[in-house]
């Protein structure tokens, strides 16, 4: 079996009386989409914050590309190739769409943000940013402000920013949140191709999308992973059916 790109070992995190993550372990292998599902408040976003940085686990560790990154800063993990998208869009709303993707491109350029040459006149940066926009189909919106995009377009822009980073793994927190059926379908088609570029740890509520995309699934309930397996395994799992899919899956 090939080495996982990203692995989480026995992570725990408590907030007061809430066990947001309870001894969570999972991994992400090359070329796969590993979906994490679970009811609201199960601890999915908390898990992502510990993987990508910004929240230190009480116990356990995170390995990325064979290296322990548990105590690295968010920015260092991103530089290593961990590309994250947020559940609630984190975009510079006053800036244009192009400026938003350029932000990712300039960080990936390696040298840190220069003081003098105009960012948007730098053809290297611009090409990189535009090609990311083209991949999500936002190239015609490059010059408008992020605040003028529709909700669905903002979700795509989130992904486009992640694309500029030379990612070795994607970590996506509900990329389809609030997208509507049509948008979800487009995003599903897009993510399906994206796994060839880098594996995706995908937190998602949209079950159609999850069942269509996931190579493996982990089910998180009250901070615990109650099952991991293929789509068939999970569909067949009694505990999962009662805890989460009960409604009729």
């Amino acid at each position: 079996m090939t080495e996982p790109v990203l692995s989480v070992h026995n992570i725990s995190k408590t907030f007061g009386a809430v066990k947001a993550c309870d001894d969570v372990s999972l991994d992400l292998r090359p070329g796969e989409i590993h979906a994490v599902i679970g009811p609201n408040g199960a601890g999915k976003s908390t898990l992502i914050k510990q993987i990508c940085g910004g929240l230190k686990p009480d116990a356990g560790r995170v390995e990325f590309l064979g290296r322990d990154v548990t105590s690295l800063r968010t920015s260092a993990r991103a530089q290593a190739g961990l590309a994250r998208t947020f559940q609630v869009s984190e975009l510079a709303m006053e800036d244009t769409v192009l400026q938003n993707v350029t932000l990712g491109a300039l960080a990936a350029g390696g040298k840190g943000p220069g003081l003098f040459r105009a960012a948007l006149k730098n053809t290297g940066l611009r090409d990189r940013a535009m090609s990311a926009l083209m991949r999500v189909g936002l190239e015609d919106h490059a010059a408008i402000r992020a605040s003028e995009l529709s909700h669905g377009q903002r979700r795509l822009l989130e992904v486009a920013v992640a694309l500029t980073l030379n990612p070795k793994a994607f970590v996506m927190d509900e990329p389809m949140a609030g997208m509507g059926a049509e948008g979800s379908k487009r995003m599903t088609g897009f993510l399906d191709q994206l796994r060839a570029q880098a594996p995706i740890l995908l937190v998602e509520h949209d079950m159609d999308a999850v069942f269509a995309l996931a190579d493996r699934l982990s089910v998180l309930v009250y901070g615990r992973v109650i099952a991991t397996g293929t789509v068939e395994d999970i569909r067949a799992n009694e505990e999962v059916r009662t805890a989460y899919l009960g409604e009729g899956a």
Partner: protein, 327 residues
């Protein structure tokens, strides 16, 4: 040329024309007022980089203004008394040369901004405002209780410092110096805003989590901005001291920080020429309203309230409309 660029150009030309007119009509005081506008605007260009681009509400920029002022005061007073500042381990003498004074002031205020910023930027929001205010006050009280350099009374310099090739005693020459430095600072600030650094800093103000997630450090971006900002305001402080040929602890006072922020808001925070419009309006209000009533600050307060309530982009925003997203 878009509307904002047109307004900016008119502003800059007007600021040059007024003192030339005043010179022709023998009104030196008007030249002094215009010089004051240029210097205040320069201080505001500095604050605008921290506040407008970086979103850093610093109520301690008087610290840098004052350090620039004291750089001038200390160097020039040693030079006029023929006393070296230090003899051991190496000889450092005072100076009456503006370039030497500027470089000293800029470096000193940059270092101060590095230290103050490194500590303050670990906090945010109200705490950041309070801690920058506290640093400013610390320097204020330090200046008051430092008898070697005049303490509470400040330091007087008898003759304005020199600049090679110019007669700085002529008001119009000194204005030319201040105006040129302001124009250079505006040029720099325009380039900075469009640079990758400016893009990232601007994003760090709006969405710090995103900036981190692409591998940049908002803290470092802000600290860099704070240092650049402090250096420019420090340069303005050195010029202000030279304009008055006097420096006193009041340059360090929180009122000074407040005034810079007030006219920046008046002119338009985050707008390139906001500090120029704001400084001009502020000096004119002070001049005309101040002549009518000792309580002119009340009218200023009312005006400020109107700006905050109805014209969020300040004077520039009011005249030029919403900022154009640049390409």
């Amino acid at each position: 040329m878009n509307r904002e660029n047109l307004i900016n150009t008119i502003l800059l030309l007007a600021l040059a024309t007024v003192p030339l007119w005043a010179m022709a009509n023998d009104a030196p005081y008007t030249i002094t007022l215009a010089t004051k506008v240029a210097i205040f605007a320069l201080a505001g260009v500095g604050l605008n980089i921290a506040l407008g681009l970086g979103g850093l509400v610093s109520l301690g920029h008087a610290a840098f203004f004052g350090i620039g002022g004291y750089a001038m005061g200390i160097l020039a007073s040693h030079a006029q008394n023929f006393e070296p500042i230090m003899q051991w381990p190496l000889l450092i003498e005072g100076s009456k040369s503006m370039p030497v004074i500027w470089i000293t002031g800029v470096i000193a205020s940059g270092l101060a901004a590095l230290i103050i910023g490194a500590l303050s930027l670990r906090t945010s929001g109200v705490y950041f405002i309070m801690i920058t205010l506290a640093f400013g006050q610390m320097l204020f009280f330090f200046a008051i209780s430092w008898p070697a350099y005049g303490g509470e009374d400040g330091l007087s310099i008898y003759i304005r410092n020199g600049f090679p090739g110019l007669n700085t005693l002529l008001p119009i020459h000194f204005f030319g110096i201040c105006y040129t430095l302001l124009a250079l600072a505006l040029l720099f600030s325009a380039k900075l805003a469009k640079s990758p650094f400016g893009l990232a800093l601007n994003a760090a103000r709006q969405t710090p989590a995103r900036v981190e997630a692409v591998g940049l450090s908002p803290y470092r971006l802000r600290l860099t901005a704070f240092v650049i900002s402090g250096m420019i305001t420090g340069l303005a402080g050195a010029l202000f001291a030279d304009l008055n040929r006097f420096v006193s602890p009041s340059m360090f006072s929180w009122q000074t920080s407040g005034e810079i922020m007030v006219f920046l808001i008046l002119g338009g925070v985050g707008r390139l020429y906001g500090p120029v419009a704001g400084a001009a309006a502020f000096i004119m209000l002070e001049h005309f309203l101040g002549g009518l009533s000792d309580y002119w600050h009340i009218y200023l307060g009312v005006l400020l309230l109107l700006v905050v309530l109805f014209a969020r982009g300040g004077i520039i925003g009011f005249l030029a409309g919403r900022q154009v997203a640049h390409d």
